[in-house]
Symmetry: C2
Subunit: 310 residues, 2 copies
């Protein structure tokens, strides 16, 4: 059997890490990368993992634009940030073939529909990464902890679970935990509990770590998570009652961590405010659910963005 051909689009911390894992598992992995193109082209990625050791990931093809990809990808894995000025369809469409399975490992809720609409005949898999992983320099990725990837098909095209299962098996062969689920949308809401709390608070506090935030403002964290749970439930995704406690406990157990939104803010890059908070609040309005705390956070993040732009 030929190795699976995989194209990673947006090979930042998350993309390069899973690309490196898949390459380690024997797949033919190529990357589209822009900011670190020269370094990656010359020497590949340097992966430093506290759990798996250090290794180099040399992609099969290193390209700047999706149009330059040679061959038929079995999987496209989209790992870019989702911001107001990103066009996810345009980012991938030049490499989508009839048999390409589109995977997106991205933050946010209610971000599925535009992909389903644009590629009605391709299997689309939603992926959720539970990982502490940062870019520490050009083509340098530091994997601090965790790494579990949850995958679920969202449009149930013929090949369905088989494609998710194959990808999952490849990844888990390297020691990274995976889960294939038919409740991926619930999983996305569950992840939003954490993201909607810690991402904005780390930015609005001007850079406190998850640990400092949790140690001093656990009640606020719980209120935010409860509001997200209420919205998820109104949308038809009933999360387990223990979800908040579990999230809090897991965060206490994490190393002090800078959230992705905070790293973006510190580097003066666009933040994922819309897909994490904006989409959540818009779902709440649609379902007539009150979420005053999320409303405040969203408004404050918009002020922060205004300041960032000025």
């Amino acid at each position: 059997m030929k190795p699976a051909k995989i194209l990673i689009i947006g090979a930042g911390a998350i993309g390069s890490f899973y690309g490196a894992i898949l390459s380690k598992a024997g797949a033919d992995v190529s990357v589209v990368c822009r900011s670190d193109y020269q370094t990656v082209k010359q020497q590949g990625y340097s992966i430093k993992s506290d759990e798996l050791g250090n290794w180099s990931f040399i992609p099969s093809q290193v390209i700047k634009n999706t149009e330059d990809y040679q061959g038929d990808a079995d999987y496209i894995i989209l790992c870019t940030k989702v911001t107001l000025d990103s066009d996810r369809i345009k980012l991938i469409q030049a490499a989508v073939r009839p048999n390409t399975c589109i995977v997106f490992i991205q933050n946010g809720v209610e971000i599925e529909q535009e992909l389903i609409d644009a590629f009605p005949n391709n299997e689309i898999i939603s992926g959720l990464a539970f990982i502490c992983c940062n870019r520490t320099g050009p083509a340098a990725t530091h994997h601090l902890a965790y790494g579990k990837l949850t995958l679920g098909s969202i449009n149930q095209i013929n090949t369905s679970l088989k494609r998710a299962k194959y990808l999952s098996d490849l990844i888990s062969s390297t020691g990274i935990e995976t889960l294939v689920t038919d409740e991926i949308i619930s999983g996305r809401w569950l992840k939003c509990l954490w993201n909607a709390a810690f991402n904005p608070l780390s930015v609005l506090s001007d850079g406190l770590s998850t640990e400092q935030i949790l140690c001093t403002q656990e009640p606020l964290i719980r209120v935010i998570m409860q509001e997200v749970m209420n919205i998820a439930q109104a949308c038809g995704y009933c999360l387990d009652d223990s979800s908040i406690d579990t999230n809090i406990r897991n965060t206490y157990a994490m190393p002090p961590y800078k959230t992705s939104m905070l790293l973006d803010y510190e580097n003066n890059k666009p933040m994922e405010t819309e897909v994490i908070l904006g989409n959540t609040i818009r779902a709440a309005k649609r379902e007539h659910i009150k979420c005053p705390t999320l409303d405040s956070l969203y408004a404050l993040m918009k002020l922060k963005e205004l300041k960032q732009q000025g």
Copy 2:
């Protein structure tokens, strides 16, 4: 009639401005000041007012500590910030004589009782300044706009309204608007509408002006003001329904302004989070009123303070 003897304690922007106004009106005005002591001692204050012109204010006595005040003050006017580490009683007690009337021109709600308890035989007047006024350098005060001072006795000791009226007449003789009211506590809540909205938002947005905040997040401003109104009402102070609209309209008419909390934050000084937000929220809990937006702002300000200290 001898000129009134007045001691200003805490002669920052507000204190030096009203001290200068009272001196202009013929009063014998002394100041306790710490940070600008040397400059004030040598050359007094330089007051630059967009409405009243520029002049120098040479205090009668310039002292570092209240204990050093010579004579019997008719009025002590306390203008310090009210923060967790300030002791208002200790700041004034060495100069309080049987006939001294204690005036406090300070931010915050529910800050009266400790003064009433500590000085049961002195008249105490609560003052509210509606003014745009900044310290621009050592002993240099810039009065940008407004200046109205509202005064009200809060313990109705014998002399009662007469003392407030006398002070008010002195100030208004210079062209600055004054009002003596028996509804000063309502006035304090009314002022809190503005303070609870614009002070935290200017800090949490990292320095946007009142104008930038209002132009982009007017709905949030209105939610905050409504929560403060609900709490005031539960405490027995029913503010006029039009208060929010008036506040919004007045703020649009103001020059773009840095709030006092923002100036403190930028200068790495303690902020008035507790008297503006903390006391408001504690009143809400006591009266069983929900205020989720104020809760969020307060929690975020505590994170901001934690970051400031670290």
